[in-house]
Symmetry: C2
Subunit: 407 residues, 2 copies
C-alpha cells in the first residue's frame, strides 16, 4: 500500500486543505493519506478554534484516511522541533512520501537550498549567533543569516518565512528518513497569513478572524470551507458555547501567573532570561490577553515566541521534562486521533514495520508526554461548564474517531 | 493608653461579634480595641464571604479601633499556628489584654487546663501519637489524648473542639507574652457552629449559609447583623457580582490541579503522603467542589484539613516557604488593614515599644509573606471581570481603611 504523509493543523479545515490532500494523493500516487495534526494547541502557541477530535473528524471527511496527533510538546514549538516530531512520526508510520504546500511548488528548489545549507552551515551558524548577540529576535537573526550565505538562483529563498516550514520538512526527511520522498505542491493561496478573504481559497488566519469577529459563520467564510465543515463548526459552538481563542483563557493565565512565585514560573518551558519578572509585572496591570502581550513583548520576545511560552504556562510544561522529551528520537509513540477503513487497513499492514507503538488510547502506555497531553486537554477544556468539562476530559481516554472510507 | 486585643475573622461581622468587642472593652478597661483578622482566606480553609478591606470596615464601624491582618500563612492553619501568629502579633502591638469568647466565660478554667497540660504534656503527646498511628484523624486523636489525661473538675474540657482555640490563645499568651492578661467572656450563642438562625445572636456559619443559599440578605439574617452591616454586604454583592464561596472557585482549582504534574503538586504546603495522586484522580471526575471533597476526604484527611490544603493549592503556598515562614517568631511585620483616630493615636504612642514594623502598604517592605499575600489576593479576586480584578489587586498596594473614631 502506497502512503503519503501531510503535516497539518486544520484550524479550521478549509478548501485549501482539501486541495492539498487531493493534490498530494495524486502527486504521490498514494492509496492512503496520513495527516499528522497538532492537538488542542498549535504551532504558533494558540488554542485551536475547535478541539482535536472534531478537527480530526473534518480531516477524515475531506480526504485524510488516518489522523495522528503531533504530541503537544512538539506541536507548540518553533519549526525545527515541530518538523522533527511530525516528519519522524510520519517516517515511523512508514509513509513513502511527505507532501507539503509551497509558493514555488518546486521540490528541486528546496533540495538546492538543502545542499547549499549543508555546505554553508558553519557560516550560517556564525552569522546567526552574531545577529542574536546584537539583540535581534530569532526570526530576524535567521533571516539575516540566510541572506548572508547567498543562495544560488533557483534555490528557495529561506529569508522568506513562508519557506521555512517546508524547508524544515525537507531537512528532516533528508537527515532522518532519506527513503521518504519529499514532495511539494503549489499552494493556491500564496499568502497564507493573508488577513482578508478574497475567494473560495483563503488563509486559515483570515477565516478564523472573520469567524471569531462575527461569532458565527458568515456567507463569506462558508464559501472557503468544504461543505461538511460549516455544520461541524456550528454544532461545536452550539454544543460547547464557544470557539476557542486566547482571550477566553486570559483569566486563567492571569490567575496562574499571579499565583505562581518566580521560582516556579522559571521552571516553565520557555521562561528564560528573567522573563518571570516581566510576566508578573505585566499581569498585575493587564486586562486583556492582547494588552498583556503588548506589555511583555520586546524585540527579542516576539509575539509568536511569547504565545508559545504562554501556552506552556497555561498547560504547565516543565522545562526539564521538555528538555528530556525533545531529546527522544523518534517520538516515543504515535497516537491515533481518527481513521477510516483504509487507514485501519494500512495500520494493520504497516504494523510489523513500525518501531514505535501506534496507540488508540493513552492508558495503553505510561509516558510523560501523555501526561502532558492530558494537562493540555484539561487546560483547553477548562472554559466549559463543569459537567461538560469533565466529559470532554474523559474523551481523552476513549477510542479514536472512526469513519467509513471515502466513497 | 490601655489596649485589648481580639482574634477574629468577621465572616460576616454579626451581633455576637459586636457584643464580644463591647464586652471585651468593658472587661479590659481598654481605650483601644485591636482586632487581628484573617485576610481573604480563613482558618477553616475557606474564602471569606467579602474581602478583607470591607470586613475591616465593618469592624471599625462596630467597635474596633485598629484592624491588623493575620498573614495568610498563619491564618489558614490549624489552631496552633493560627493562635501563634495572632497572639504574638497582638503582643508585639503592645496589648495589655487579649479577650476571647468561650462557653464557660471563666478564664480560671482555661488557666487550670493550661497548668494541668504543663504537667501532663509528655503523657498527652504519647497518647496523641499512638492514636494517630492507629489511623485516626488529628482532631479525633487529640480528643482521645485529652480524654486520656483526665483534667481536674473546673478545668475546661479540651476534648470539646469549641474550647481548643481559646486554650491555644491562653497557651500562646502564657509562653510567649506572660505580661499580657488573658480574658474571656461568656459567648452568647453557645454553639457557634449552629446551622440555624434562632434569634438576633446567631453563628456566622448559620448566617453565611442563609445568605449564600438565598443569594440575598433575608429578614432573618438581617436581624443577626449590626445595622451598618447589611448595606455593606449588599453593596459588595452589587458591585462585584458575588459573595465568595468555594464552589465559585472550583473551576480554577480544577484547572490548576489538572495542569500541575505530581512533582509540582507535592511542593504545595499540606500535600503530603501521596495526596497529590488522590487529588488528580478525584479532579478528573469531580463536577463540584463538594463532589471533589467527598471523593478525596478520608478519616485522616478531614474536610477542614483538606479545605486548608486546597486553599494552599489555589493560592500556591510553597511547602519550603511555609516551613521557613512559620518558624519566624514573632511574625516579621504587622500590616494595618484599617484604623480610626483612636487606633492611629495608639499606633503612634506604641511605636517606640514595638519590635516589628507596623506597615500600611506592602511595598514598604520586601518579604516572602507579603508576596504570598499578593498571591492570595490574586486568587481571591480571580472571580471578578478583568478590569475589576486588576483594580482590586491594586487595592492591595493602597492605604488602609481610615474612619473617624467611634462617637
Amino acid at each position: 500500500m502506497r502512503s503519503c504523509g501531510v503535516v497539518v493543523e486544520y484550524n479550521p479545515f478549509h478548501n485549501g486543505h482539501y486541495y492539498h490532500l487531493e493534490q498530494s494523493r495524486e502527486h504521490s500516487g498514494a492509496d492512503v493519506m496520513i495527516a499528522i495534526m497538532s492537538g488542542h494547541f498549535l504551532q504558533r502557541g494558540e488554542p485551536a478554534i475547535m478541539d482535536k477530535w472534531h478537527r480530526a473528524e473534518t480531516a477524515l471527511k475531506n480526504g485524510a484516511d488516518l489522523v495522528l496527533e503531533l504530541p503537544f510538546l512538539y506541536a507548540v514549538q518553533h519549526s525545527d522541533y515541530f518538523s522533527q516530531g511530525a516528519v519522524q512520526t510520519l517516517a515511523e508510520a512508514g509513509v513513502d512520501a511527505i507532501c507539503f504546500g509551497s509558493e514555488s511548488g518546486d521540490i528541486g528548489a528546496f533540495m538546492d537550498a538543502y545542499s547549499h545549507m549543508n555546505v554553508h552551515q558553519d557560516e550560517f551558524n556564525a552569522s546567526l549567533r552574531s545577529h542574536l548577540n546584537e539583540g535581534h529576535s530569532f526570526p530576524e537573526s535567521s533571516r539575516l543569516a540566510y541572506e548572508s550565505i547567498q543562495f544560488p538562483s533557483g534555490a528557495v529563498d529561506l529569508s522568506q518565512p513562508n519557506n521555512i516550514l517546508g524547508y524544515s520538512y525537507v531537512k528532516q526527511i533528508m537527515s532522518y528518513a532519506p527513503s521518504v520522498t519529499p514532495l511539494t505542491i503549489h499552494r493556491k493561496n500564496s499568502h497564507y497569513h493573508d488577513e482578508d478573504i478574497t475567494g473560495p481559497i483563503a488563509s486559515a488566519t483570515s477565516i478564523r478572524r472573520q469567524m471569531l469577529k462575527a461569532g458565527t459563520l458568515t456567507k463569506e467564510t462558508e464559501q472557503t470551507l468544504p461543505s461538511s465543515v460549516p455544520s461541524l463548526l456550528d454544532d461545536y459552538k452550539q454544543m460547547y458555547g464557544c470557539w476557542h481563542e486566547w482571550e477566553a483563557y486570559f483569566h486563567l493565565l492571569q490567575y496562574k501567573i499571579l499565583t505562581m512565585d518566580e521560582d516556579t514560573l522559571r521552571c516553565v518551558h520557555g521562561v528564560d532570561e528573567g522573563l518571570e519578572y516581566r510576566l508578573k509585572r505585566a499581569m498585575k496591570k493587564a486586562v486583556t490577553f492582547e494588552d498583556f502581550m503588548n506589555r511583555v513583548k520586546t524585540k527579542r520576545y516576539t509575539w509568536t515566541r511569547l504565545q508559545r511560552t504562554m501556552t506552556h504556562v497555561l498547560v504547565g510544561t516543565d522545562k526539564e521534562d521538555a528538555r528530556r522529551g525533545l531529546r527522544e528520537t523518534p517520538p516515543p509513540y504515535a497516537r491515533i486521533l481518527g481513521m477510516n477503513e483504509a487507514g485501519r487497513k494500512y495500520l494493520k499492514w504497516a504494523k510489523k514495520e513500525t518501531r514505535i507503538p501506534f496507540i488508540t488510547q493513552p492508558q495503553a502506555m505510561q509516558h510523560p508526554l501523555l501526561d502532558l497531553e492530558a494537562r493540555a486537554a484539561a487546560a483547553y477544556y477548562s472554559l466549559f461548564p463543569a459537567a461538560v468539562r469533565v466529559s470532554r476530559l474523559n474523551r481523552e481516554y476513549e477510542a479514536p474517531v472512526i469513519l467509513p472510507s471515502h466513497p
